[in-house]
Symmetry: C2
Subunit: 334 residues, 2 copies
DNA sequence: CTGTTAGCGCATTCAA
DNA sequence: TTGAATGCGCTAACAG
């Protein structure tokens, strides 16, 4: 039904090779015939069938992007970065949102294949040994964003020291009773939650503050769950005076909990988040800023490089973070 | 380099037709041979090349999604709805984020072609006559979400009456000086902004309140721009006592502006937003809720229907909205 | 400068 | 129940 290259050729009175040539500038074409072809293309509203082109060239012109927690503002901001450079490139993007372990495995099993994608961007998922094995066997250029494996290109922040610095700051303020609302520490997607928790522990240890297990909570990085955990924390017999959260969303939930309990922030409670999403600024939240948009951008840029240049040895980039001090932190009241 | 159906066939000692049969259950296969094929597939880590399959079947198994303002929370929420049903389907998704007019035109020109996609979901863009013409000529199943054209399936809310109800409520509260922070009224993507503005005008007219041009501002639906517009409005010689905004983001900006001016909300200023994004709840913002996630879901569901059933006459669905009253609205102070 | 042909990987006839 | 042959739309190599 749709026009093919043959239709164009016939209409322009030329062979398909010539049409292909003007389409791709792959060889010189007489200006007059070029014009004939061009008008035929316009009249037929012809667009080359990508499947045909892909099959013929052995190149898909699409890159796969695998993202968990598609819902989260932080991921969206990374994705925006991704899209901003993809839009300007000759590549299409195929988006795989994985919410469950099953999906994760299925996607990582079926997507990294030649003929399916030219490159793979994996965000916030530490690939398993099997996954990496497959990726390497199929020789798929791959970049990990906010994840790590020695054999693959990766971009990530130093979660441990970023978290440590945040907690250092809370301690400097004079707090001793500091709770941590974590992502599940054994999440199957990656190990950042452990890194951030380590940073928390290190800061406490360095200050000689014992780690109180009652001050640790694990939940999904969402506002509502953060709120519940904060409610638990703040109604403890000996409640914390500060809460550090794995994500801004959880920190926002903590702010909500404080409000419900008629606690004034930062007088009665200090709260520190992580990510610096847009809402963090609105909520005046002190938080660890990571450059999400840039991470997405750079991720694709490296990927496009890696596609051009398949034998590049793995590059591991460390992205900067900053503690952004706003209105939700202060010395403890007492 | 990657395994093909021929490799599998050779390894299993069968013909490619047999491999294809077990792959697609397209015809009965002897159980023993089936097993041989299956093990060959596993050992080779074979996954069918989608381009080959597409070319052969004349079906791409992918649907295109065109979205402007990819950054906006409202769009993301719709996209989440889209992804949630796509993930469970046999379709891949190809995402086209358009931020500029150029991109919009290019995408709408090159994407709606057989062999490229099986169906098209267009969000928040009113297609031009040309676009619709092309879509129909190429016979591409298409669903419009938050947009409208008589010839294409569409899902949308009644923007005019939703906006009118919101402003009615503000008037009932006793306000007379009601400003409106609009999206650009001549945005080339669609006409909702005009609809909402009409709703605003109608409510005012019905209450016998003259429309004050000084109380109208146009800007992009973003927080920072909303903040600037609100700042202008609130420093007017005769400032409004209530602000209605085209989007929650702009309303959030208005809240910020009020804070900067030491205005207490809702005592000194009432603010009403539109969308009910997640942050709206956090900010206790009174707003017009539309069911974004569901709109995305239903959009794809209709699209999948339309793909199965290409001759279905255009369906036009009206989605409900609700005014959610929270803490940013009250009678005017005086 | 241009027309013709082979082949990309697959599903699907048609024979056997 | 299965193998071999055809064609999907295209690019690139080949021949003129």
């Amino acid at each position: 039904m749709p026009a093919t290259i043959h239709d164009v050729a016939k209409k322009a009175g030329v062979g398909i090779g010539t049409v292909s040539s003007v389409l791709n500038n792959s060889r010189p074409v007489n200006e007059a015939t070029r014009q004939r072809v061009l008008t035929a293309i316009t009249e037929l509203d012809f667009v080359p069938n990508p499947s045909g082109r892909r099959l013929s060239m052995g190149k898909t012109h699409t890159i796969g992007v695998v993202v968990p927690f598609f819902t989260s503002p932080a991921q969206i901001k990374r994705l925006r970065g991704v899209m901003s450079v993809i839009s300007e490139s000759e590549y299409d993007i195929s988006l795989f949102a994985v919410e469950t372990l099953i999906q994760r495995d299925r996607v990582l099993q079926t997507v990294p294949h030649r003929g399916r994608i030219d490159g793979l961007l994996i965000i916030s998922i530490d690939p398993s040994a099997d996954d990496v094995h497959r990726i390497q066997r199929h020789n798929i250029p791959t970049v990990l964003v906010e994840a790590y494996h020695p054999n693959l290109h990766s971009l990530q922040i130093d979660d441990t020291s970023a978290a440590q610095k945040a907690v250092d700051y809370i301690i400097e303020l004079g707090h001793r009773k500091i709770a941590y609302i974590s992502e599940y520490l054994d999440t199957p997607f990656g190990v950042f939650s452990q890194h951030r928790y380590q940073g928390y522990c290190r800061a406490l240890k360095a200050a000689g503050i014992p780690i109180n297990p009652a001050y640790l909570r694990e939940c999904n990085p969402e506002r509502e769950e953060g709120r519940c955990m904060a409610l638990e924390l703040l109604t403890l017999p000996d409640p914390p005076t500060a809460i550090f959260a794995y994500s801004d969303l959880q920190a926002l939930g903590a702010l909500e909990a404080a409000r419900e309990l008629n606690l004034t922030v930062p007088r009665d409670l200090s709260v520190v988040g992580y990510d610096d999403i847009d809402t963090a600024r609105f909520a005046q939240l002190t938080t660890v800023r990571q450059h999400l948009f840039e991470a997405g951008m750079q991720g694709v840029e490296y990927l496009l490089d890696a596609i051009e240049n398949p034998d590049m040895p793995p590059v591991h980039i460390q992205l900067p973070t900053e503690l952004v001090i706003r209105q939700t932190t202060a010395p403890p009241a007492r």
